[in-house]
Amino acid sequence: MLERQKMPEQDPKVRRTNFKEVALGFTEKQAIDEAARCLQCKKPKCVEGCPVEVKIPVFIKHIANGDFDSAIKEIKVDNALPAICGRVCPQETQCEASCILNKKGTSVSIGRLERFVADMEKDHGTREKPHSSGKKVAIVGSGPAGLTAAADLAKTGHSVTIFEALHAAGGVLTYGIPEFRLPKKIVETDVEYVKKLGVTLLLDSVIGKLETVDDLLMQFDAVFLGTGAGLPVFLNIDGENLNGVYSANEFLTRVNLMKSFLFPDHDTPIRKGKNVVVVGGGNVAMDSARCALRLGADNVTIVYRRGEKELPARAEEIEHAKEEGIKFRLLTNPVRIIGDAKNWVTHIECINMYLCEPDGSGRCKPMPLAGSEHRIEADVIIIAIGTSPNPLVPRTTGGLEITKQGTVVARKDGATTKTGVYAGGDAVTGSATVISAMGAGKKAARAIDEYLKNMPVA
């Protein structure tokens, strides 16, 4: 049997100084060889592991046969954004975790194959416009949830308008995930594909301010809320408002959306630290740390309160971060941030932690080790401990039930407590994954389609 193909990558020493993509993608030969490893299982476990149930063995078979066109067509039946998912899905806990070959630790590289055919695709498919249903749907937010819902609703003939608060579409794909992991060209291509399906995209449109959801309901037959979980959570410790302390959202938005890594050619500045400390252990923390490194930091340290095993980031990102020289201080938690007379951060004071019995989330609960306080030198600190949903829409929409955590209450099919209003993605679940947001967008599109069918044409 063939061995699992290795992904060609930029050398860590080189890539830590640039923002170009780290993983370079399979060659044709590698892709065909990798596809040949798939056993074409009768009852493919892998499909169950994919939140949108991509027909994995079918598309892989096409690749093995060298028929890349059919492969991408097959994927796009279930997944409108394969170039993105192939790059950022946590495959090791989803499709590839369920692959039968994973028992030996050598699952088929499903994600990389998906990426390969998506990148090969030249014709990004202008389809015939379906027969118009005469119904109008407003989508709030252009992240993966909103884009997927929009694409599916447009395909069924509804007239769809996306309202996006920022000046670019894509949500976290655009402002959060850095260029070296997900080139913005790819996001743009996928957004263009959704537009080609007939979707109208209105940027610079903050719902809750420019129009409320109730205003939208006067102009549209249904509304989908895909507003994400973009409100940064802070630690609530002393010194968090010192100059040089960023939320990961701000840091990443400056770097990715505003391109401050190109300052002064691009206008938005960013503080380039020498000693950067990132607090948190998820994808957001890895992305922040690796951006800081690429901006020119000498030392970048990740401070995380649990252990290696508990790091929630994708395995590949942790590995890449380590290769690039990011330091990990595990079982460590900040207690306060210390600054100088001019309000600039100088140190972060941390305490060591130990893990005891599992808490509500099933993970081991971190406890502070008394007397272990110590300081780490830092001129930039990035807080990446999570986000919660933005309250702008909830605050301005009557009749929409919201949980204490700020998430929108929605049924499995996306229906909220307000008639005609559906929701999905991070806005409902809190921070999750790209593919789960897409799955939610898909389900909601189906439910909205049903809802509209049962509605008399005006």
Partner: protein
Amino acid sequence: MPFEIIRKQELVPTIYLMDISAPRIAKKAEPGQFVILRINGKGERIPLTIADFDRKKGIINMIFQAVGKTTMHLSTLKAGEELLDFIGPLGNPAHIQKEGTVIMVGGGVGVAPIFPQARAFKEAGNKVISIIGARSANLLLWEDKMKAVSDELYITTDDGTKGHHGFVTDIVKKLLESGTKIDRVVAIGPPVMMRAVAGVTKPFDVKTIVSLNSIMVDGTGMCGACRVLVGNETKFACVDGPEFDAHLVDFTLLMNRLSMYQPEEKLALEKYKCEREGCTC
């Protein structure tokens, strides 16, 4: 979706008026709110207060001072040219209701955002006493417009070239000490001025409102760049404000945070000037 510049005018040296065609925003705008704009694809997102709006014509009016790269670039644009992005109305509208007697304080370019509020307070049946100040007489903004909506108007200049020689706070203090019953003070201007007004009104226990101009990026509560400390609680000026109770604001923190990018701002401005003057550095 580009936004057309309908009118651009220099009001006084370094301070400009600009009208933008933005019908959707004009429909919803209220006094106290702001917009965020971006000139072009490489541009920074900067917030400017909505100084006035015309719902019928679909126009948003802003008054800005050319202080750095972006505002300076903005000041060179002409009617007929376009801005790439124009986002709003952001922030909460000002609370305007019948209070009794209100003092409206505008310093420098802060006179512009004070004007629509003064007008609205007047229309709500208040007695409006306005105090406007500038460094020098030639920098004084909108005396006529302010006069038209105020029951009393005081002028101050730092150098004594017009009106009271001194600061706006001198007049605020005099009014409060004279025993005139003041129900509310609204002050908009440089942070030092707003802090000084807060300091003067505090002992008299007069509710004082200021509009905070912290550094912003998205303006929708997503990044936290704009965080300010109010009553010892962290608030996001873009969504929780921009108006806050002056007596609870930590102005020192505000000013410190405003200086965060000074070296970068200097560099950006030098590069911009250099490019405009066609040198090759």
